[in-house]
């Protein structure tokens, strides 16, 4: 972990309570994520993609931005990011259970898809990579309005980097030096396809050079490193420095989704090794080692998270399914039912 200039060697901009709060979100995310997986096994959640292993990268990258003015385009694996941005556990579970009141899409879509009513965050579709040109368009709109100082943060996976849309988006952003932060959560796999079958280079960050802006690769299991890199990038973007690409190297601790079985394509060694660098554990150890977290607080955080999960589960399960009639709404601005 980088030894920053702040308290207890924290990166500038973070204090001890921030660090603990970030850890708290990670713990909550992990436990809620585990619950979702269980709900799938119980037949309650039709499908889930887990953020386990991505927590540090997500919580820290969100922390480095400013949700009061920045835009967030996410993808399906951003469970922790959504919590960090303010989605409630009940909201999250209502998505997995496809229940009424689900805030993103009214449960028309898979979990995490749609748009959040309180946060400037959207994810229109499951079609991998489409968010990248859209993010560039969001940033362009800010530029055209003269609305400066905002960052458009777009998350994507290593898989998405292979899409034509990724190229077109980065190229346009580079030409116009738009305020876009391209944040690649590189977990080494597009479902089952390993990185060496996805690109002939060592790091996705190298791609930035092809578009004339900086690319940075960072250990995505290290919350402070991600925070520092993202903060630096965001500052530069806000100052008019143009786009930045960050690659956060993470692990996908679980199979691609609840439908997947990663033992078909990952060796026991591979799976074992990544478990040893679980970012939630790493963060816990680091915070304790640095004296930012004591045992008692940690226990309280975990207890609280467990209670929150139980409570959210009860509440989400008690929700009804959306009315069938509702599916006819919002096709066009004009009200009116299709045939």
């Amino acid at each position: 972990m980088p030894e920053g200039s702040g308290a207890a060697g924290l990166p500038e901009g973070l204090d001890a309570s921030d660090a603990v709060a970030m850890y708290r979100t990670m713990v909550l995310s992990r436990m809620l994520d585990e619950r979702v997986w269980m709900m799938n096994r119980q037949g309650k959640a039709a499908i889930a993609a887990s953020a386990q292993g991505h927590e540090a990268a997500q919580v820290a990258s969100v922390k480095a931005l400013d949700p009061s003015r920045d835009h967030f385009l996410i993808y399906y694996r951003q469970f922790t990011a959504m919590l960090a941005l303010g989605a409630t556990p009940v909201e999250m579970l209502s998505g997995f259970l496809a229940k009424s009141g689900e805030p993103m899409s009214g449960a028309r879509q898979f979990p995490l898809h749609g748009s959040h009513p309180r946060v400037d965050l959207f994810s229109f579709s499951n079609v991998v990579g489409t968010q990248l040109p859209q993010a560039v368009g969001v940033a362009l709109a800010d530029r055209l309005r003269g609305d400066s100082g905002r960052v458009t943060m777009v998350y994507f996976g290593d898989g998405a980097a292979s899409q034509g849309d990724c190229h077109e988006a980065m190229n346009f952003a580079g030409i116009h030096r738009l305020p876009v932060l391209f944040f690649c959560e590189n977990n080494g796999y597009a479902t089952s396809v390993p990185l060496r079958r996805q690109m002939a280079i060592a790091s996705a960050a190298e791609r930035a050079a092809a578009y004339g802006f900086p690319g940075v690769s960072v250990d995505g299991r290290d919350m402070f490193a991600v925070y520092e890199a993202t903060k630096k990038a965001a500052d530069s973007i806000r100052a008019g420095g143009g786009p930045v690409l960050i690659e956060a190297r993470v692990d996908r601790l679980l199979p691609h989704t609840t439908d997947d079985d990663h033992t078909r394509y990952r060796s026991p060694d591979d799976i074992g090794q990544m478990r040893d660098r679980d970012p939630v554990n790493l963060t816990e150890q680091t915070l304790k080692r640095r004296g930012l977290l004591d045992e008692q607080t940690d226990r309280a955080i975990k207890y609280e998270a467990r209670r929150t999960v139980i409570d959210a589960t009860d509440k989400a399960e008690a929700l009804p399914y959306p009315d069938t009639e509702d599916m006819h709404d919002h096709l066009y601005a004009e009200p009116g039912r299709a045939l």
């Binding site: 009214g106 859209q134 368009g137 034509g164 190229n171 709404d329």
Partner: protein, 328 residues
Amino acid sequence: MATMNVLEAVRDAMRLEMRRDPSVFMLGEDIGARGGVFLASDGFVEEFGEDRVIDTPLAESSIVGIALGAAVNGMRPIAEIQFGDFIWPAMNQLVGEAARARYGTAGKRQAGMVVRVPHGGGVRGGLYHSQSVEAVLAHTPGLKVVAPATPYDAKGLLISAIRDDDPVVFLEHKRTYRLVRGEAPEGSYTEPIGRAEIKRRGEDMTIVTYGLMLHYSLQAAAQVAEQDGIEAEVIDLRTLRPLDTETVLESVRRTSKALIVQEDTPVASVGSEVAAVIADQAFFRLDGPVRRVTPPDLPPMPYSPLQEAEYMPSPIKIIRAIQQLAAI
């Protein structure tokens, strides 16, 4: 009122809206200094600047994807796809994303944007500068698809499209750009999206058409009226999604016969839908089959001139179809 051609009507509509609303901007290939390959934005970069008239790299998926993102963030983009034939790389962002931005967020976001698409054949465009691309667009819930045939409609409908809060694909038939002239108000006005218009009254049969084929159909109708005394009603769909089936059905129920004329290939097309709607909802008022005039079911369209002429529906072919249907 002023006399203008379709291209001038399009240019006029855009200029008026660009002047009126600072959130309107344009992006596409060669729309800046070049003024667009058809000169639809001639003089625009000079008047509105490079920020609002953006020459993009040659990359259609991003043209539509960026327009979508900008629309979601409150702007009103007019994206130009240089030729309809080049819309295919953008289909994902258009059909998969923009069309569902509102529906998939249960109304929390919207994508008020226009995708202008010069399209159609009879212009010696060969296989890749002649296509009709409306079938898949008309198929897609969430899109609006407009295909004007006259300067009046082009201008009024384009202004409506720019102000619309949903994604509108605006199909401009290249052959009509300079060929078709007509009256239109000088100032701003809107025509409603989603309404067909009866462009010629008649009681012997209903011709349903749009785009360039409206003009061929009107020519044919005039000729059969004169030479055979057949009075064909001609409906210009104008909007291909949502379809104004009411106007079509009301007419067919009156005339009892329907002929559909389109430049697009026949299978699973706009014309198929019109026929299907008639066969379902006007069946008992029909006294003859629902006929269609279309090109052959071949990729649009050969470059060599005789083949192109043979490929395209023409007034003559429409006349023949009218006569045959009238004789039934």
